[in-house]
Amino acid sequence: MKKLTLTLLLIGIAIVSTLAQKKMPETAVKTLTGESVNANQFTNDGKPIVISFWATWCKPCLSELSAFNDEYEDWFEETGVKIIAVSIDDARTSARVKSLVLGKDWPFEVYLDSNQDLKRALNIVNVPHTLILNGEGEIVWEHTTYNPGSEEEIIEQVRQLIK
């Protein structure tokens, strides 16, 4: 019983906490050619950015990115949105990221977060996890998991931002 109370208490704490306006942290990720970039330098000239955390072994992540890929031409034309895909693949699979991204012909900016420093700094529990940044670089929306069709909700949020 005591244990259950403790569990409930922890859940309570998590819910009580309010959401602060987060920005991207100053955490380094790598480009596909091995160069370091700090995540707070992600920009899209004042237009929104969608950031998707994914991994090559994560089925729903690949479904989400392939859905983005299908819609991207239209989305870009309409809103100027940029899509950044941050792979959390570690040494096990990170060598496959580049061949997968180019092989699938994805038009996204791709970074490697191979010891999950950025994922941790953003308190992301599991992938897929999607963030939307407004033109000022503030994280205004986030969503975990992917269901087919969720991409509609994401582009709707982006549309609201450019109004």
Binding site: L9, I11, A14, W57, K59, K98, N115, N123, T144
Partner: protein
């Protein structure tokens, strides 16, 4: 003591979020809770623990104030879920740190995660699904004296459940972006790097020259030019002491090479790895997934479907040699084979052999040429994946896999080499008003081990929030047992709640190539996760 911690946590959370969040600092964090109520289920060999309950909980809080950051992670296992080490049966703040970070310098005091190169020499990381956390407790410095040099230093002891291991770790690592340093413009990038790790653990036994101090170093090159890229990493590990017998383990070596060729619509990747005597832990006596210093994931394709993961390769750190080839390409839109939307095809071939030699009491004696491929076959996997979109609503994925898995060597027992073929089809159909249905059918065919398996899943999604599933995995070959599961989840922004009821098969659960044995279990599970 624990109550005080919890009270502090509550106060910190509430006050910080209401007082500071708008103006000065920000508080953020995450919470994850995984629970299961167990029942006995003799058909699958599942035995419920004494109080029929398991619960793993993680609360992480970060407070950010300008260039300063502080954080904690509180973990409670009440008791741990089945399959997690019983040493985790405790609760408390296991991870705490303070750090300063600006553009060129980051200093962390307390617990931290870090990695040198690809982790072949050193990696401190966390994986909750594996119950693995080997974060260092000590000091971490990252420094960029110029924009083309980056340096790292670590010092500390590794986490072991709710304590730290005995061994001390100290290390440095440097990386140089050569062409940028020489101000050579162009589309080539050359990065060279190197690292050094020392582990010290007292030894008071009788053996002379027993290595209480173990040195290891690495050298790496990462070169890319236009469409080609080459990465090579070499690690040398000095003599180490054996835990079960008073013997000395000889020098170890690891070589990882990777070449890729990529252009729009085509990606090709070759990877080779050879390991010899590379088990490296910060305490000689450590077992299971405790206190790993280096990270040696299986260098094979990580599959996404349950039957394709029935026989997962796990690294043989004392001696293995092999590699994989990966080929991904897109058949263009509006061509005969590509169809209206284009077709995406992935091919992969992986092969690993044991290094020829003998292993006695944990000590490996090599008996082969450096690149000798004459050891026993451990694993071979050839697989194809085809992804095709048929219309705005309908998408399909097909997977075929032809696999050889040396069960006797990898898991033990007398099943020998298991040869299996796996077929998967995964169909996804979008209905009106944001609803979607997904159906997955899998078939595994083998004459060895437990013979044939059949699995299926049907998933129904409503918008981005609701998701329901029913799945079954059925061993038609030997046991005639069904592993039925059903459940659902609700997601709102970054909060996810899920429920499920059913059976879980015993076996190897591998994440990122590191595995743990999961016992058979049956019962009702519920989870909550949130980031804030």
């Amino acid at each position: 003591m624990n109550r005080i911690y919890i009270c502090l946590l509550v106060i910190l959370t509430i006050t910080s979020s209401s007082l500071f969040s708008q103006e000065k600092g920000t508080l953020s964090g995450s919470f994850e809770s995984n629970n299961q109520i167990y029942r006995d289920d003799s058909k699958i060999g599942a035995r419920a623990p004494k109080d029929n309950f398991g619960s793993n909980n993680y609360l992480k809080l970060n407070y950010n104030y300008g260039k300063f950051q502080a954080g904690i992670q509180y973990e409670a296992y009440l008791p741990p879920l089945l399959g997690y080490d019983f040493n985790l049966d405790d609760e408390g703040i296991v991870h705490k740190y303070v750090s300063y970070q600006d553009k060129d310098l980051a200093i962390t005091v307390g617990n931290f995660y870090e990695q040198f190169g690809s982790g072949l020499l050193f990696r401190a990381w966390e994986d909750r699904q594996l119950g693995l956390n080997n974060a260092l407790e000590g000091v971490n410095i990252r420094f960029k004296p110029t924009n083309y040099i980056s340096l790292k230093a670590v010092y500390g002891k590794q986490r072991k459940y709710f304590d730290t291991g005995e061994g001390k770790i100290r290390g440095i690592d440097g990386e140089l972006n050569v062409l940028e340093g020489l101000e050579i413009e162009g589309n080539s990038i050359l990065i060279v790097g190197g690292g050094y790790i020392n582990r010290y653990q007292d030894y008071t036994g009788p053996v002379e020259d027993f290595p209480s101090s173990v040195n290891a170093w690495s050298a790496r090159v990462d070169f890319s030019s236009g469409k080609s890229a080459l990465q090579i990493e070499y690690v040398n590990k000095g003599e180490d002491g054996n835990s079960s017998t008073p013997q000395i383990i000889s020098e170890g070596e690891a070589l990882l090479a990777n070449y890729s060729y990529t252009q729009k619509g085509l990606g090709l990747n070759f990877s080779f790895r050879r390991l010899e005597n590379m088990t490296f832990r910060s305490e000689r006596e450590a077992v299971n997934n405790e206190l790993f210093v280096n990270y040696l994931p299986a260098n094979t394709k990580q599959h996404k479907y349950s039957l394709a993961n029935l026989y997962p390769y796990s690294t043989q750190a004392m001696g293995e040699i092999g590699g994989q080839v990966d080929f991904v390409f897109t058949l263009k839109k509006k061509t005969a084979l590509g169809g209206k939307y284009g077709t995406r095809i992935s091919l992969n071939y992986s092969h690993y052999n044991k290094l020829e030699g003998t292993q006695i009491d944990g000590v490996f004696y090599k008996d082969s040429e450096y690149l000798g491929f004459d050891g026993t076959k451990l694993y071979r996997d050839f697989n194809v994946e085809i992804q095709k979109k048929w219309s705005k609503r309908f998408k399909s994925y097909f997977t075929f896999m032809n696999l050889e898995y040396n069960k006797s060597v990898i898991e033990g027992g007398d099943k020998g080499l298991v040869k299996a073929k796996v077929f998967v089809s995964d169909l996804q159909y979008k209905l009106k008003k944001g609803k979607a249905i997904r159906a997955e059918f899998q078939y595994l065919n083998t004459k060895q081990d437990m013979q044939d398996w059949i699995a299926g899943t049907v998933e129904y999604n409503i918008g981005s929030r609701w998701s329901f599933f029913v799945s079954d995995m059925y061993n038609s070959g030997t046991t005639d047992v069904h592993y039925i599961n059903l459940g659902g989840s609700y997601v709102k922004k970054s909060t996810r709640f899920s429920l499920s009821y059913g059976r879980q098969k015993e076996g190897l659960l591998c994440v990122g190539g590191v595995c743990r044995m999961v016992p058979a279990a049956s019962g009702f599970s519920f989870s909550l996760s949130k980031s804030f």
